[in-house]
Amino acid sequence: MIWVVLAAVLAVAVVIVVALPFLREPAPASDELHALDPAERSLLDAEEARDRALAALQELEADHRAGRISDDDYRAVVGSLRRDAAEALRALDRVSAAGTSDAKAKIH
């Protein structure tokens, strides 16, 4: 008998856990999924692109210092990596500037 009781308790607990979000916020201001909106997405993307570009540059430098890449190979590649990093930084500036002005526009 005790097993059936335990089963019932488990069932009730489970139902409560599943209903929890609705019990906590019976009437929320917004039920919209706070997934990132496009502006936020592009900001995060730009940040990630910058990180990637800088990391690649860093890795190239480290490889060169450790002797994994010869001077010739280093010179051949470093230029394009630096350009990629600069472009990523510019893109990030653009996106965050747009984001700030967007937020300002929404507030007003």
């Binding site: 488990l10 069932a11 599943v18 997934a35 010869s70």
Partner: protein, 668 residues
């Protein structure tokens, strides 16, 4: 008690269905609380499955033979640890273990990723829910561990070959691996479903993949060790379908681990990566299907199995779904980044991938051939060792070499001249090793010699990498060598952890080459006092003894071991006769030479009534490197997995900032 177990599984069924259907709806329509609720359901499904698992454990510990499953796999005399491991000794229990690990991983994954990968998690929840639904359906409707019978006086006992410590760890490790692949798969599908086809899903699942892959690798090594010491036929891998079942997803996962690095660094190979992770997961399902349904033995046993058709159905659903999603998102997945040079790290990784996937598919083909040939030709054809060995050499040896080349090649483009300079030293070491080995007689086996030479190359390049990195650090910081070495690894955990793992694979290769290409075997019937010579050893059969163990009669033959003039002690080999299970098992005698890594492996094949014993004796050089490799492998993985505190803080701030920013406009 069975009612609680059944109820708990029924709850898991309901919760998974909820997570799948409601979670899917919530993700599609963007309903926050509903998505949260579905996530809670997935997490709750772990707890209800845990309850079911605990009920089964209690059944075993209490010798509750009214549960058919307990009666079939346990007995009163069974030692307690084996009562616990009997949980997964049969089909229903191992399915429950699968589900337990799945819901555990699922709960952890969605909980950990809930802030950082929110737009992914809303879709990951229904995917994981769907997989859990499949397994809980099997457990509720097809193959329940809680079937009740009139309790017999005692259970049937556990198969003697499963009564050893390996049974406690090997299946669990394998399942942690098999099931673990579901998480990256779910995130990949989540990425496709949500349209976030960039690297987000890979970064989120990086650690999961390594954990699953490590567990699967360790699980297989445990299995190999089990086969070696306990099953005792003289080897550790037989290309048995059940063994291949674990190897195939592991190879695919290895390929995946490498190709995601390319996507992270260069944004390339997006289609390939989602395909590869889907392949790994489907192979994992297929592997479970193979092991559980015995389908490869004969197509006839397949139709007798209740679970086979369901499993096949799941695999078909998973494959169709994955292909469908990839096809649907193909435009978003395509990138403009291209392979710049055939001599670059990207290219090296690509070759690595091709070889690994090719090997995995050849094994798949060989393993599935009996089923396919029966369906197509009406005649079941079985594929033997030579097929697998051939392809292992063809793909494995180049892979070995590539392990040494890859890390030394630069990204994007590497000049051949630069390469030649980098490879000079390791290549010289390899060449010298090769020559020395030929002088020592290793030329008797060409694949063995090649394996050894390639291994020397890889080891030399790994040592070179560590040395160069430390030297470069010292040049910059002036630290003493130990500090520089430690900091080097600490700042580049993935890279150097990876190198340690490569070293482990090399040890594995050397161990396999030594014990299969250069082993010796001798056999014969000996009367007391007679000897057998093998591989430099002489063994003399001295005596035969018998004693009563806890649940078996143990017969052991004692042999003296000599090498030349030196007395090396004794080794025992014999058989155990299990009373309850009415079975006999081989108990081999192994003498390990720790200096050379060599094993003397004695099998008492047949104990005759007149006191003579037919012995089969192997000498297996370097075989212990295989087990050492397992430890090094684990070490390397732990290094690679170890979180970098600075990196974690940086990422945490970024996602917290994003949340702040996104909260402001949305609530206006």
């Amino acid at each position: 008690m069975a009612e609680l177990g059944r109820a708990a599984l029924l709850l898991t069924l309901g919760l998974s269905a909820y997570a799948l259907l409601v979670g899917g709806y919530a993700a599609w329509r963007g309903r926050r609380r509903l998505a949260h609720s579905a996530r809670n359901a997935l997490i709750a499904s772990f707890f209800s499955t845990l309850v079911a698992a605990l009920v089964l454990v209690a059944g075993f510990l209490r010798d509750d033979f009214s549960l058919a499953y307990v009666a079939d796999h346990s007995s009163k005399a069974l030692p307690t640890p084996y009562k616990l491991s009997a949980f997964w000794g049969g089909q229903e229990g191992s399915l429950l273990l699968w589900l337990l690990v799945l819901t555990g991983y699922a709960a952890l994954a969605v909980w950990l990723a809930r802030k950082r990968a929110r737009d992914l998690v809303v879709w990951v929840t229904p995917v994981l829910g769907g997989i859990a639904l499949g397994f809980s359906w099997l457990l509720v409707a097809v193959s329940s561990p809680f079937d009740v019978i009139a309790a017999p006086a005692d259970g049937s006992g556990l198969n003697p070959s499963l009564q050893n410590p390996y049974m406690v760890v090997h299946p669990v490790a394998l399942y942690l691996g098999y099931v673990g692949l579901a998480v990256p798969f779910a995130f990949a599908m989540g990425a496709l479903l949500s349209g976030r086809t960039d690297e987000r899903w890979i970064v989120a699942t990086r650690r999961w993949t390594i954990v699953a892959w490590t567990a699967l690798g360790i699980g297989q090594l445990l299995g190999a060790h089990w086969a070696y010491v306990e099953v005792g036929w003289g080897g550790y891998y037989a290309w048995d379908p059940v063994e291949n079942a674990a190897l195939m997803p592991w190879l695919a996962a290895t390929a995946f681990l490498h190709s995601v690095m390319i996507q992270e660094k260069r944004g390339m190979l997006r289609v390939w990566n989602v395909t590869l992770v889907s392949l790994a997961f489907c192979l994992s399902l297929f592997g479970t299907f193979l092991t559980r349904s015995g389908v490869v033995t004969s197509i006839h046993s397949f139709s007798k199995s209740t679970i086979g058709p369901w499993f096949l159905g799941f695999i078909v659903v998973a494959v169709v779904f994955a292909i469908g999603m990839i096809w649907y998102r193909l435009p978003q997945l395509r990138t403009t980044a291209k392979l710049e040079s055939l001599v670059s790290r990207e290219a090296a990784f690509l070759y690595n991938n091709l070889l690994l996937v090719a090997l995995s598919l050849t094994i798949l083909w060989g393993t599935a051939w009996p089923m396919v040939s029966e369906a197509v030709r009406g005649e079941t054809m079985v594929v033997g060792r030579p097929y697998f060995d051939f392809f292992l050499r063809i793909f494995g040896l180049p892979l070995l070499l590539l392990m040494g080349i890859g890390p030394l090649v630069a990204w994007r483009r590497a000049s051949l001249r630069g390469l030649a300079r980098t490879f000079a030293w390791p290549a010289a070491v390899a060449l010298a090793t090769g020559v020395a080995l030929i002088a020592l007689g290793a030329g008797s086996s060409t694949p063995g010699l090649v394996a050894y030479t390639f291994s020397a190359f890889v080891l030399a390049s790994i040592v070179h990498e560590f040395a160069r990195g430390t030297a470069a650090r010292r040049a910059l910081t002036g630290e003493p060598i130990p500090t520089a070495f430690g900091r080097l690894i600490g700042r580049n955990r993935r890279r150097y952890g990876g190198y340690v793992v490569h070293a482990a694979v090399v040890l594995l290769a050397i161990g396999i080459a030594g014990s299969s290409a250069y082993d010796s075997v001798s056999e014969g019937r000996l009367a007391k006092g007679e000897s057998l010579a093998v591989g430099g050893y002489t063994l003399t059969y001295r005596s035969l003894g018998e004693r009563e163990g806890p649940n078996a009669t143990e017969v052991r033959a004692v042999l003296d071991v000599r090498r030349g003039q030196k007395d090396l002690g004794t080794v025992k080999a014999g058989k155990n006769a299990y009373s309850v299970e009415q079975q006999v098992s081989n108990e081999v005698g192994i003498r390990t030479d720790y200096l050379t890594g060599e094993d003397l492996f004695v099998i008492a094949e047949q104990v005759n009534d007149d006191g003579t014993v037919f012995f089969r004796i192997f000498v297996k050089p370097l075989v212990n490197l295989i087990w050492l490799a397992g430890i090094v492998f684990l070490l390397g993985s732990v290094i690679a997995l170890w979180p970098d505190a600075r990196e974690e803080r940086r990422l945490a701030t970024r996602y917290a900032n994003a949340r702040e920013r996104s909260d402001t406009p949305a609530t206006t």
